[in-house]
């Protein structure tokens, strides 16, 4: 069983710039998704403070009862995190692939303002294709 429930992209100041919800029951309204994104940004930073060893770069995986949260932080500080079913494999490589799509379709878009919400059709299209093909490969449907 492997399914992605939602994907968030946060800019380096903690603001939500992209949110995609694939789940059915867990839908959140816009305000809540903004709050959740900012909360995650802060929790990520606090977890670095509590490290017993030097060189902590923040939470990479959070495991809860009903979902797993995988987080990838790029070099400039943009965070990509995905909420999925517990035990879904290959989420790290999916996140890195989404980061590639982000650099290709969003950052290289001359009309896109950096740190602003993402409104690029090609990015949405390719993202849906990536998630769909992932789903087909993992679930066989």
């Amino acid at each position: 069983m492997a399914a992605i429930y939602s994907l968030y992209i946060i800019n380096k100041s903690g603001g939500l710039i992209f949110y995609k919800d694939c789940g059915t029951k867990g839908r959140m309204d816009t305000n809540d998704s903004l709050r959740v994104a900012s909360l995650w940004h802060s929790m990520h930073a606090i977890s670095q403070q509590l490290s017993p060893v030097n060189g902590c770069s923040g939470i990479e995986l959070l495991q809860a009862d009903t979902f797993d949260l995988h987080c990838f932080q790029s070099l400039p500080g943009t965070k990509f995190f995905v909420v999925c079913e517990p035990g879904t494999p290959h989420m790290e490589s999916l996140l890195r692939y989404i980061y590639e799509l982000y650099t290709d379709y969003v950052l290289k878009n001359p009309f896109y303002e950096i740190e602003m919400p993402i409104r690029c059709e090609l990015f949405d299209l390719n993202l849906s294709q990536a998630v769909q093909s992932d789903r087909v490969a993992l679930l066989g449907r």
Partner: protein, 169 residues
């Protein structure tokens, strides 16, 4: 690869110390946020003084619980973000992992939170935390001299805990 916010590149996993302990540290909190126990076996970096460190840890867990309850994709009825959750209410996380440590968490129905910080390759420690709670019940709760709500000062508990944690791989 050096990430934003990191100052040192630290690729090697934590080597167990001479005492053989694989865990870095452990916290036990009660439902009011009082730190009942803090044990440190192998901690190289102390960012904050102990009081602030305990408060930060409790605050982080409190907020993470609130976050996971809200983000729960399965439960349809969720409270508002920021509303304090009762123990056992809503979806709760049981561990998170960073590149330098793994934090395992367990909350009992009475609000006792047990936190174990180990190296990142550790497996699922939920059973171990349940066993530690069993030790807490035997050596602390059943101790007639123990004052609930105050830090634990039981030698037997400390020894049993040290022995058990050493055996966790």
């Amino acid at each position: 690869m050096q990430f934003f916010g990191g100052s040192e590149i630290n690729p090697s996993p934590q080597v167990p110390t001479a005492s053989g302990n694989n865990a870095h540290m452990m916290y036990v909190f009660n439902r009011n946020g009082v730190c009942l126990l803090y044990k440190e076996w192998n901690r190289l970096l102390h960012t904050l003084n102990p009081q602030q460190d305990h408060k930060l840890m409790f605050g982080l867990l409190f907020s993470l619980k609130s976050l996971t309850a809200k983000m729960d994709p399965v439960n349809a009825d969720k409270g508002n973000l920021g509303v304090p959750q009762l123990p056992g209410q809503g979806c709760s996380f049981h561990s998170f992992r960073t590149n330098t440590y793994k934090l395992s968490f367990m909350e009992t129905p009475s609000g006792i939170k047990i936190i174990l910080v180990t190296h990142p390759k550790t497996g699922d420690l939920r059973e171990s935390l349940k066993y530690i709670y069993g030790l807490y019940v035997e050596y602390v709760v059943k101790n007639p001299i123990y004052n609930p709500g105050f830090p634990i000062k039981s030698e037997l508990f400390n020894t049993a805990l040290d022995q058990y944690v050493r055996s966790i791989s």
